[in-house]
Structures are given as C-alpha cells and as structure tokens.
Symmetry: C2
Subunit: 331 residues, 2 copies
C-alpha cells in the first residue's frame, strides 16, 4: 500500500504533516509519498529518525489555497501537491490519498480526476463530528447542495460501510436530519427519503432533530449538502463564539480571573472533548479511490489518525464493499 500525502495542505503544512507521516512510517510497513516543496519537506524530515526507504518525496512547485476557486484548480494549479497526488492516485489502484488542504478543491479534483464508483449518483463530503459520547459522521456537508432522495439513501449506505470498516462501529446507526421526529415531518426531500432509508440495508433509526445533534444515538447523520454545510458551520461558529464570549466574561475582573485560573484544568478538558484533532479525517465517499480529508487545522496527531483511517479504508476494501452494495441495490 502506498499512501500519497499532500504535504502542503492545511494550516500547519508541511511541519505537522511531515511529523505525522514520520510517526506513521515508524509504526507501519507501508510506503509514504510526500508531495510538495522538496527543500521544506527535507528540512522537516531532517528532524527525525525514520525508515528512509519508505518515505519518498515528489517535488511540486505549487500550493492549492482555500481561497483558490475549486473548479479551476485542476487546470490552473497542475503542479500543485494536491493535484499531482490526485493524478498519481488515479493510476495506482494500490494507493490512498490524505490531504488537509482545501476541501472544495479536493472534492472537485477527486470527482473529476478519479471518477465515481459505478452506480453511485453523487460523491459526498463527510465530516467527523465530536458528540457527547464519541463521534459521528455527518454527510453530505457541501458537495451536493440540491439532492434527490436516492442520493441521501446512497450517502447512508456508503457511510455505513465506511463507519463499519474503518471506525470499528458495529452496525452503525443512521439518522435522517429533520425538523421533527415523526415520519411525516420535513420538506419533500426528507419525506421521500424516509421510506427509502427504511427499506435500505442500513440500521436506520429515524429522524433526528438538530437540537439533539450532540446527544443523538446516531453514528451517521444524513442530509443534503446545503443543510449539512449550514449545520457544520453553525456548530463551528457557535461553539467558537460561545467559548470566546465566555473567555471575555472570565477576565472582566480580579475575582473572575482567579476563578478562571482555578477552572483552567476543567475547561481544558472540556475543550479537548470538542477538539477535531482527535477525530483525524473524514472520507470523500463515492469516488473510485480512497481519499481522506484531514481537518485543515490538523496537528501531527490528527494527521496520523487520518493516515490510519486511510490505511483501514484500503485494507478493509471500503470501495469494493460500496460497489457490491450498489450492485445489489440495483438488482
């Protein structure tokens, strides 16, 4: 197995990407290929002892930024670490790719360069979400802003295969994001999706309201990409806002400052619970190769976890299993 790595993607690239890769190479017997600025990568590598024969560098000259138009990256940034890695991935059935770079570019590039699994209508963007107990997958979070019921059904199928085979969740529970728990609730999309999910070979537990997001039993939550993106950004924005407002309240006078100091360990633990880094990455589901998107703010621990998910993705044949399920559904 070759793990292709976009060494220039993410807020802490290439430093944390290289560090996470070295850690993985010390543990597993796979080959790692770092795409990016050769000098910068070599400099980072020089800090570590590592199995040199299993970490290669493919020098590239460009970087895809979050500000780049995803639709234009393939043509305009041909020699970027992300696009070069995606092109090599296409030619290599025994490889997977991990990137902490632009989600939109990875989605556009992955879909166009790699192509869809036959029978899959639309690839979906997933995100791993911390919740009260453990984590959950939310999809689609932005790849498909206008969805049909069949897309949502396929999202549930794909995510179930992924969660079962790489996250170690036995018979993962699937919930449908809705504005009420009753079967007849919701807009026309979710009303039509509900019976499809009931008939599907997934462990469908019914509608889940957004107010119960953090405490839901579901391991997987499906919705259209518009709704998913709204939810993802609202959770990020609101928790960030609440934490920073709280910080403001805590430092307004001496008494509250002393209180905040005493609470520091408890608050640190509280924040760690909602730390994306411990959840590694989330897959682009529905394309013909394994592509794991690590969170943009990934440190080396998060990136190491994302690499681990890529390995499990490949070893547990997630794509073959999705492909088989889709064929069965058709019959």
């Amino acid at each position: 197995l070759r793990i292709l790595i976009d060494a220039m993607g993410g807020d802490h690239a290439p430093k944390e990407i290289v560090k996470g890769t070295v850690h993985a190479a010390q543990e597993w017997d796979h080959s790692f290929v770092l795409y990016g600025d050769e000098a910068a990568i070599k400099k980072e590598l020089s800090n570590y002892q590592y199995p040199e024969e299993r970490i290669d560098i493919v020098p590239t000259t460009e970087i895809v930024y979050n500000t780049d138009d995803p639709a234009k990256v393939i043509r305009r940034k041909k020699d970027s670490s992300m696009i070069r890695a995606l092109k090599d991935l296409k030619e290599d059935s025994d490889a997977v790719l991990v990137s902490a770079g632009s989600t939109g570019a990875l989605l556009a590039g992955g879909t166009l360069l790699i192509g869809r699994i036959p029978g899959i209508q639309r690839p979906a963007l997933t995100v791993a979400f911390p919740k009260d107990k453990g984590m959950m997958l939310l999809l689609d979070v932005g790849a498909n802003v206008d969805c049909k019921p069949l897309y949502l059904q396929q999202f549930a199928l794909m995510a179930s295969v992924y969660a079962g085979n790489t996250l170690g969740i036995d018979d993962p529970k699937v919930g449908l994001i809705n504005i009420g728990t009753e079967e007849n609730k919701g807009n026309s999309l979710v009303k039509e999706t509900f019976p499809l999910l009931k008939e599907s070979p997934v462990n469908f537990i019914g509608n889940v309201e957004s107010r119960d997001l953090m405490e839901s039993d579901a391991d997987i939550l499906v919705c259209d990409g518009f709704t998913g993106n709204i939810i993802l950004k609202l959770v990020e924005g609101l928790s960030g806002y609440l934490f920073s407002s709280l910080k403001g309240s805590m430092t307004q006078n001496t008494k509250s400052k002393v209180g905040a100091l005493l609470l520091k360990p408890a608050l640190k633990e509280f924040k760690a619970k909602f730390d994306y880094n411990q959840y590694g990455g989330a897959p682009l589901l529905g394309i013909k190769s394994g592509v794991i998107k690590a969170h943009g703010s990934s440190n080396h621990v998060a990136f190491y976890h994302a690499l681990r998910q890529a390995v499990l993705f490949h070893e547990n044949k997630v794509i073959e299993k999705i492909s088989d399920l889709t064929k069965k559904e058709k019959e």
Copy 2:
C-alpha cells in the same frame, strides 16, 4: 386597542402571563382580555392592584398543549383559550393577540382562521434571536418547509416592515442564509432568491454564512422554513448542551467548584445575554391581524415585552404597510 391574551399558553401560564398583563395594564391605556380558566386567572389577579375596568376575562375550558397536533386544534379544541382568542381576533380589526402557547397551533390557527394578507403567498414564523450585539429576526423557522424564491423575498419585505416599525431598527439590514458569501453560492432556491432580494425595496446586505450567525451585521435573516427550523433548534440545543457540559466540568472537584463560585456573577451575566426572555416575542407575519408569539418559557418580563410589541405592531400599522408594499411590488 384591545389586546387579546392566551392566558393558558406557555410554561408558566397563567401566573406569569397574568403578572405581565397587569404590569402592562398599569402602564398603558389599552384594554386587555385574558382567555382561560376563570378561577385560576382571578386567583392570580387577586395578588395585584390593577385597573379592573381594563382587564376582562373570557372563560374557556380547554388548553392547547405543545403535544397537540396543530392541524387538529381548531376542530378538537374549540373552547381553548388560544382558539377562542383567535376567533375573536378575526372579528375585531382593532385587536391584536399575544400567546406563549404552541407555535404550530398558533400558526395553523392564525393562518386558517384569520387568513393571509392579499398578495402574500405564505405567512412566516419569525423568531427573535440574541446575537453578539443586540438581536436579530430569523424567518421562516418552520411554517414553510418547501419554499419558492418569491416567498423568501416576501419574508424579507414583511420582516423589514416589522423590524422598522416595532423594534425601532432604522433601515434594517437583510441577510440571506447561505453556505458561502459569494452571489453564485448555494442551492437553487437561494441562488434564485439572491437577485430578487437585490431588486427589492429592502436593505439587502448579501449572503450570511451560518458560522457568522452570532456576529453578523444583519438585523433580519431569511431562509426556507426547513433550514430556519434546523438553525433555531441547533442554536438552542447546542448552547444548552455546551452550558450543561460546562457545568459538569466545573463541579468535578473542589478546586473547580471554588473557581465556579468565583465566576458565578460573570457566568450569570454571560447567560443573561442569551436569555430569550428579554427579547419578548416574534410575530406571525403575513396574516391579516397582529399575532405575537411569546417564547414558551416566557416569564412576566418577557410577556410584558411581547405585549409591548403587539401594541407597537398595531399602532405603527404593520399590516397596512405590508399590504401597501405588496401592492406596489405587484405594479
């Protein structure tokens, strides 16, 4: 002006409803009509000195609960405080109605019994939301789960009239909830709504992402009722969850308990900022009479503010102004 009051609606009815009403009657020269359990209302009233000639009671025998099916309340709970008040409202052009009861029932009852303003396609449910600086109105939050661009444009028009005339916001800024700030972003509904809002006689400031909800400049945020309901419940659920998790972290050992004690005033102030009660109520927009929905957990202060909004709604001729704007739009 007669203010019709559903005295049995809300978590703290009739106690807090009556108390808020008495406070209002002591301040303003209007007539107040309390619908509900006569004995219970009289008992509450007996605690106060108030202008008896301006507070009437209409005895009713039933109560609409949140668990009642909104579509069936009109037929099944004919003698409920809410339905009786709505029926009297229909006959009285010089009255407004305030209820802290079931939102769904109020919407269904209001729409069916009172009827739409000519030219308005769909009534909308609004909610007043605390944000970093002041508050904003979000609509629709659940009345219309499948929307057309024209509905969203009318929501923006109606909310602009309301905010300008009852909340004292000069030239209120309207934002469109979207998954990106650029004009070409979003699902087909918002993509088609964007140019309509640009042409409308409202102060349209463009797309607003959910991550910026709390810090947006917008006074009014429009979206379809499915998205709005998801946002509303996610904000309520997530902030509730974060606060209670935080509380858990704060009481895990003696040191953190002392810290929490010192922080108490600061945290109290912080929580007050997000207290719905200070924002009173929000209108059902698009029907032919003034109906203000107070938050279900309203205490007497919140209910008093909701009554105040009802008075301003009537005095500032919100319905006539919406009606005029709709006619102009048509021409």
